[in-house]
């Protein structure tokens, strides 16, 4: 009974997130437009050489994914923190670590998944062979969830940071270096697919295990000193 009640609460947490994100649907759309316009700019600035574009295509997609997921970092906890909703959610029986996990998945669902869905179109634009799509989806799926975890950690760290918000993006970027190395490796070395996907999965596990502790502690600190 108690567990059912709790599951209900979690479902309605996501109902709330869904309402919040869908009312700001233009935000998601703007993010995707940013993504595609950046791809166009890359294509135009490289020139008509299709070979080069398809060679660096995966790198371009990764860079843009990273940039646009750091753009949406501010929405991670900041809004809920400033209007006091974070505290209300906590008082409703969610421990801060659990909030971190739920928020991470919500960020993945509402920010990263739209990107994942637009990757096939990006592939066509960038001349990446369609048969590589399955590798792309595997690596981007794991990689973007890892980015969400990192985003949770860094944005909870920077809740009370009024002066230098860009620092949050820098933190995400520096820790995402290994993810990018391995997931770009997947596209270039298909024969090593299994071991590379295992490495990416390992990194995801580590970040995922650290996330509730680090974010929860930072959220607690910020609530305490707000």
């Amino acid at each position: 009974m108690k567990i059912m009640k709790f599951i209900n609460k979690i479902i309605f947490f996501y109902y709330r997130e869904y309402k919040l994100n869908l009312s700001g649907f233009q935000d998601i759309l703007t993010n995707i437009i940013f993504f595609f316009i950046s791809i166009f700019i890359f294509i135009f600035s490289i020139g008509p050489d299709k070979e080069t574009i398809s060679l660096i295509g995966v790198g371009i997609i990764w860079t843009l994914l990273l940039l646009s997921s750091t753009l949406s970092l501010r929405k991670f906890y900041q809004d809920d923190f400033e209007n006091g909703n974070l505290l209300i959610i906590h008082l409703n029986g969610f421990s801060l670590g659990l909030i971190a996990i739920l928020k991470t998945f919500s960020h993945f669902l509402f920010v990263q998944v739209p990107f994942l869905l637009s990757i096939p179109i990006a592939c066509i634009l960038l001349n990446i062979p369609i048969d590589k799509l399955i590798y792309l989806f595997a690596s981007f799926g794991i990689g973007s969830l890892t980015l969400s975890c990192l985003g949770s950690i860094s944005s909870s760290m920077n809740l009370m940071n009024q002066r230098n918000f860009l620092l949050g993006s820098v933190i995400v970027m520096i820790f995402s270096v290994p993810i990018i190395i391995f997931s770009v490796g997947i596209i270039n070395m298909e024969e090593n697919f299994n071991s590379l996907i295992n490495i990416l999965f390992g990194i995801l596990l580590i970040v995922f295990a650290i996330n509730p502790w680090a974010s929860g502690l930072c959220l607690k600190l910020s609530l305490e000193n707000n």
Binding site: N161, N164, L217
Partner: protein, 232 residues
């Protein structure tokens, strides 16, 4: 050993220690530079260029050591509520950053004549570059929070998260193929370096360590005073 956790005791000890440490570091530097420039032989492969090692290796060791100590102090400060850990972290991060910078610059000066390139993106060099950026982020974090209470704890958490990088830096040369050569001196095996070249290396390491401690003493004392007067 109470002075390692108690600011007041630290202040007392530091007053005694500072001048001897500074003096020792000057002596060791003179001795070390003398050794590394005149009294140590050329390498059979690298000739005279090997002398860059006497700056490169100690600074690399100390960059790692500084971060490792900061990690320990972060754990102590967060888990056992020892506020001296926060003071230490704030004060010492720039020293670690400078050591890392020296390591990177001397390394690329060494790499150009020997490897034929200033910089490559192999595992060791990349992870050291990441270590440097982590140090920079720590410094910037220390500058950008208004509330000290949040700042010091968040920085400690960040140091803990960033310490994942330490084993990667240390073992990257053993785990993966890198252009950078594996460690010369490890505890498990006899060092594969001639005693006549080991001597200046060790002297220089202690010289770097002493100058690091001297600067750390000054910076920690400043930090303690700043906190007492509530300037930040």
């Amino acid at each position: 050993m109470k002075f390692l956790v108690n600011p007041n005791k630290f202040n007392e000890i530091a007053d005694y220690m500072f001048k001897p440490v500074l003096f020792l570091s000057i002596i060791l530097f003179t001795l070390g530079l003398l050794f590394s420039f005149y009294l140590s032989p050329d390498d059979y492969q690298q000739g005279s260029t090997v002398r860059i090692m006497y700056v490169h290796v100690p600074s690399a060791w100390l960059a790692l050591l500084t971060y490792a100590i900061m990690t320990f102090y972060s754990i102590a400060a967060l888990a056992f509520r020892i506020p001296f850990g926060f003071i230490f972290n704030t004060a010492v991060a720039p020293i670690g950053a400078v050591f890392t910078l020296i390591c990177i610059i001397s390394g690329s000066l060494w790499g150009k004549p020997m490897w034929g390139t200033w910089w490559v993106w192999d595992a060791r060099l990349t992870s050291v570059a990441i270590l440097f950026v982590i140090y920079l982020i720590i410094i910037f974090m220390n500058l950008s929070f208004e509330n000290r209470n949040v700042r010091e704890k968040v920085v400690a958490i960040f140091i803990l998260v960033g310490s994942v990088n330490l084993p990667i830096v240390k073992f990257s040369v053993d785990w993966w193929n890198t252009l950078h050569q594996p460690a010369t001196i490890s505890k498990l095996s006899k060092p594969s370096i001639d005693p006549s070249m080991l001597t200046p290396l060790i002297i220089m390491t202690f010289a770097f360590m002493m100058i690091g401690i001297a600067i750390a003493i000054l910076r920690i004392k400043t930090e303690i005073i700043t906190r007492k007067t509530n300037l930040s």
